[in-house]
Amino acid sequence: MAGRDPLPATRRRRGIGWPVRLELVILIAPALIVFLAFVIFPVAMAAYYGFFSWSGYGAATDFVGLRNYVTIFTDPAFHDALWHNAVIAVLSLAIQGPVALGLALLLGRKMRGQSLIRVLIFVPYVIAEVVVGIGWSLMLQSDGAVNGLLERIGLGALATDWLANPSVAIWSLMAILTWKYVGFAVILFLAGLQGIPEELSEAAAIDGASFWQIQRHIVFPLLGPTIRIWGFLSIIGSLQLFDLVYIIWGQYVASTAGTSTMATYMVVSGRNAGSYGYGNAVAVVIFVISLVVALLYQRFVLRRDTEGALTGGKRR
């Protein structure tokens, strides 16, 4: 969008007068004030409170320097949570990416009921995390519908406690995440596919390229920017994951089931334990990790696609 300037050319030469400035203030100030007060200010406060041992009431006076951060990085529970976040991020890319790509190629074709299917695969994305969490935890508990179904089709031996068994729980979580978010990836990819000119595939087909050759050499490369943007969103979402884990595994069992995330760790050891200073320090750590990952991703993966729009780097 940097390209053309939609303003009348005469605007530029004139300086702006007071009436126009007033207009600008009226237009922009409300949004800016709300944004600064409730987004930027709290994030800044997190950085400040992170240096205190503070129960959340009265002024924070017990300055502890970097002790909160030392505790975070030496706490095995945080190591576990960080590891789980990393596993979730990688598996989300590895599972949802190919599945969504395949589905998008499939649904990009003309067939009856296509628009209905597009709507239906998007339904899980619209349903609240709480609903998803409660529904799935009822289905996955040891006397739930999934085990019942397995017994019915003669696979009763596979039945297990999908949520409490530590070697299975993370895969249950991945299944739920895939179910909930794959539709979103499919929709993104479908939109990307529509941006690819039909003529390219047609020309390749006339030159004798097979279906897979066309996908491999024309469609996938041209879909690259969409896939990379999706990857970015998926990774950031994985690093911030909270709702589903907290709802399904609650405050306590997430760590024993092997599904705790940095965000659930933050809430459990911060707010729920009454250690607000510590919780803020964890928030800062999550933010810094997300930011570093985002910048690295942008530097090495998104470089070709955006002009630093997501972090605002080179925009202007």
Binding site: P8, I16, E23, G113, I117, I187, Y276, T311
Partner: protein, 294 residues
């Protein structure tokens, strides 16, 4: 976001006009089968929740994956007759509508200022808003809670609405600015020649022309608010102020032995979002190709 914004077409559907679709020959049955399987997998959990609400608890215990022998309406009727459910629906509606209206109004005003005026600091302000995309509510939740508490807004819907608006603004502005920039300068010049000031131009031209973008951001804000869990979890501790997600969770732990009733409650709580979604499906799907929540 440049790429994404480019994919969001001004008609808000994200679809290229009149593009011919690929024909399909040999693989139709396989494609149809996979598509059906997919739909089955996607809908089975939803169907389980809705159908489960029509069963009895003993049925669910004996055969968790079966169909109701007799369709029971009592679970649904009991939920529909309860004050708690309707109070939570009311709270959710108030929060979602207020969030949506405020996001659209504030976002549209700011986007208009950022896209149709030229002034020093414009780029910086725009960058600041786009940087907001990097601040998910997860990171700010603890200090946000303290801020809301010190403003005396605990247990009030305003304490949820205002932060939700603030966190929705970056995405709103990122979607709307390209929309408003795409309005040709000639229109504005013509309007000025006809004696229409800049604010008149805003009311008469910009508002109607940006309607698709406005609808998209409005729907995104509404659904995000309707489903929002973490912020209400921190801010709303009093039952009377609960929104539906909190209510659903409270209900499911309170009646954990009454699975059928929990399922009825859960399916009634997702109904509004599903109806809303099916009405505006094209807009949402189109809007999400341009704008995104991870």
């Amino acid at each position: 976001m440049t790429t994404l914004a480019a994919q969001l077409r001004p008609d808000g559907t994200g679809r290229a006009p009149g593009r011919p679709r690929r024909r399909i020959r040999w693989s139709t049955p396989i494609v149809a089968f996979i598509a059906l399987l997919l739909v089955g997998v996607m809908l089975a959990p939803v169907a389980y929740i809705i159908i489960g609400g029509f069963r009895t608890n003993s049925e669910i215990t004996q055969d968790p994956s079966g169909l109701p022998r007799v369709w029971q309406f009592s679970n649904y009727l009991e939920v529909l007759a309860s004050d708690v459910f309707w109070r939570e629906v009311g709270n959710s509606v108030i929060a979602a509508v207020a969030t949506t209206v405020l996001v659209v109004v504030l976002g549209l005003m700011a986007s208009f200022g950022l896209s149709r005026y030229r002034f020093r600091g414009r780029g910086a302000i725009y960058t600041l808003f786009t940087a907001g995309l990097m601040f998910p509510i997860t990171v700010a939740i603890t200090p946000l809670y303290i801020l809301v508490r010190s403003l005396g807004l605990m247990n009030s819907l305003a304490g949820v609405i205002i932060p939700q608006v603030a966190f929705a603004l970056p995405m709103t502005i990122v979607i709307l600015v390209p929309f408003l920039q795409a309005i040709p300068a000639e229109l504005q010049e013509a309007a000025e020649i006809d004696g229409c000031g800049r604010l008149g131009f805003f009311w008469r031209m910009v508002l109607p022309l940006s309607k698709p973008g406005v609808i998209t951001v409005g729907i995104l804000a509404f659904i995000a608010s309707w489903n929002s869990y973490m912020l209400p979890l921190f801010i709303l501790n009093d039952d009377a102020s609960f929104t539906l997600p909190l209510g659903v969770q409270a209900f499911s732990s309170q009646y954990s032995v009454d699975t059928a009733k929990v399922l009825a409650f859960v399916s009634l709580s997702m109904l509004p979002a599903l109806i809303f979604f099916s009405i505006f499906e094209r807009r949402i799907v189109g809007g999400l190709t341009g704008a995104v929540k991870g």
